[in-house]
Symmetry: C2
Subunit: 130 residues, 2 copies
Amino acid sequence: MNQAMETKFKPRLDQIKLDYKIWLADKDGNGILGDGKWRMLKMIGEKGSLKAACEELGYTYRRTWGNIKKIEDFFGFPLLEKHRGGAEGGSMALTEEGKLLVRAFDKFHSGADTLIQKGFIKFLDDISNK
Amino acid sequence: MNQAMETKFKPRLDQIKLDYKIWLADKDGNGILGDGKWRMLKMIGEKGSLKAACEELGYTYRRTWGNIKKIEDFFGFPLLEKHRGGAEGGSMALTEEGKLLVRAFDKFHSGADTLIQKGFIKFLDDISNK
DNA sequence: TCACGATATGCATGAAAAAGCATAACGCAA
DNA sequence: TTGCGTTATGCTTTTTCATGCATATCGTGA
């Protein structure tokens, strides 16, 4: 826009980063499945255990358990197979539906990643006024 | 994937909507400028007054004032011209830098909107397993 | 110089979300 | 049948964040 912009915005540009969240919501706007829960589902799939996944990601077991319930309540069928008791105490694994959902969200998210980053570059370009 | 998916995901698809937020953050991840603050800056520009803009958007003056301070502290220079006193009591208006920032975020945001919606359509398609 | 209306800012109260604590239920293996 | 480790769940405490209230500051016009 003018010389002032050059000298004012420029010094800060490398300290700005872009952040974003995408999530699925029900028709009332209540969040159902977003980045955190999606990561958690993936990790449960990898670890085979809710407890282990929570420790890995630093979430609390109590809260995460509630989240899972919320997701399944919404979809109306289980995304996870849960097993209590046994030699190992118990286990958890993704159902086929759960795996499908995670895969789809995965793909969607990585697509969004690149698109938004591309837009961000243009944004920085705009405010740095080339 | 299989017949089960067809019957399970299908009935809920029209009740799922996509939501997302994009914001600028400093290098520590603290949010600087997102949808709400961006809308507020625009509205201040239109109304010429912080008070009026808050009433229009339903935000509290106290909180919004703090947000503005946070944004300007980050950028290190004012995005708004503030005037106290006078016949009207005072006023607020976007500086040239403020206008440029709002325009750029505007453009960025509307671009992201369409791209993400497009991705979401594909996502729904994936989980409904055509 | 006084009143008015908007900006500027501290502080106290309240509401919502997260974290944390406790404890039951479960099923295998020893 | 007892111990172990994990899932399952209620309840309390803490933290975080927004709201609301009070009040100071300012500059013009009457």
